[in-house]
């Protein structure tokens, strides 16, 4: 009986790990692509001087990011998430002050943080060592 339970547990562990190796990565990849696109739209609107559209897209970006964060916190280290949250909050400030270079820089940092998140979850071999 014990042997059967152990075998079942081993099998379930393998399935659980396989699920963990693939599903969060797929989820993150899709959401990060959307966030990257939204971030690009915010920058585009800001560059073209459409402050209202930029702010509206930024709110959509923030909402999407918060939804991602709530789920990603279950499987990602919170400091990795904080690295993305900080530049995203800064973007709001620079949008309001109209500081275009700072906004661009914050967007770059936000995108880098998203890439880092993805690298952690998709099994980037550079992180192995």
């Amino acid at each position: 009986m014990f042997i059967k339970v152990r075998r079942a547990f081993t099998l379930l562990t393998v399935l659980f790990l396989l699920g963990l190796f693939t599903l969060p990565a797929l989820y993150l990849r899709d959401r990060c692509a959307e966030l990257n696109e939204l971030c690009g739209q915010v920058l585009f609107a800001a560059r073209s001087g459409d402050a209202v559209e930029a702010q509206r897209t930024y709110v959509a970006l923030l909402t999407q990011y918060e939804a991602l964060r709530r789920k990603a916190e279950l499987f990602l280290n919170h400091t990795v998430m904080d690295d993305a949250t900080a530049p995203l909050r800064e973007m709001d400030v620079y949008l309001k002050t109209g500081d275009a270079p700072a906004l661009e820089a914050a967007a770059v940092r936000f995108r880098l943080a998203l890439d880092c998140m993805l690298a952690v979850e998709t099994g980037d071999l550079r992180l192995l060592l």
């Binding site: 081993t10 562990t13 790990l17 279950l74 280290n77």
Partner: protein
């Protein structure tokens, strides 16, 4: 604070379950690969309990990975004696018929003082009363004491066949040739070596064997008189 408490409880239950799944060896006698998993699990759990910024999965996944590796190592050890010897080592006969085996003690990094410590822990206070001492793969020392008076001194038992495979070292030591042993076994109705779960050469010179479960797990005793013919 409540979160810390709950994380500790969750991890405790999780580790208890994992250790139970890995088998009783964790508690009773730690083999090297058991020791690794136990130490690593303890460390992973301690990290996860205190750091609320880290998801529990960060500890659970490595613990599950260690569990799978341990299962694989244990499974391979069961199937292959060579692999088991590689992972766990083999028992070392440190005292043979009252004589300390210096070479083997050096091989095991075992000093005379260590030997005395272990003997004292087993209520043996002088070397004179030790007939055999074996350093087991889990680090414990098994001692066979000398008989007092005129009684014959005990002899060590050796496994000649284990899980259907010859134990060549024991055969060499006892100077037993596989061919006459095979003939003897045939006389006792055992046609194939692979059907034998174990065949032991007992200290009194007789043999005892048990067939594998698929062959009925029968036990056969071969008297000393017939077994004696094997030793050349």
């Amino acid at each position: 604070m409540l979160i810390l408490f709950l994380r500790a409880v969750l991890l405790y239950l999780f580790i208890l379950f994992i250790l139970r799944m890995t088998g009783k060896r964790q508690i009773a006698d730690l083999q090297p690969f058991d020791l690794i998993i136990t130490m690593a699990i303890a460390d992973l759990a301690a990290t996860a309990i205190g750091d609320v910024n880290t998801p529990l999965l960060y500890s659970a996944v490595p613990i599950l990975a260690l569990f799978l590796v341990q299962q694989a190592v244990a499974g391979l050890s069961l199937r292959s004696r060579r692999f088991r010897t590689f992972v766990c080592g083999s028992p070392l006969l440190l005292v043979r018929e009252g004589v300390l085996q210096e070479g083997l003690m050096r091989q095991a990094n075992y000093t005379v003082a260590d030997l005395c410590d272990h003997l004292r822990a087993g209520d043996i206070f002088d070397m004179k009363s030790v007939q055999y001492a074996i350093l087991e793969t889990n680090g414990t020392l098994s001692v066979l004491e000398k008989q007092t008076g005129d009684q014959p001194q005990p002899k060590l038992s050796y496994m000649l066949i284990l899980d259907g495979e010859w134990c060549k070292t024991a055969l060499r030591h006892l100077r037993i040739q596989p061919k006459p042993l095979r003939a003897l076994l045939r006389r006792y109705g055992v046609q194939r070596i692979e059907d034998i779960f174990y065949l032991q050469y007992l200290g009194d010179g007789s043999l005892r064997l048990q067939l594998k479960a698929r062959c009925g797990a029968k036990i056969k005793d071969i008297p000393k008189k017939e077994a004696k013919e094997l030793c050349s």
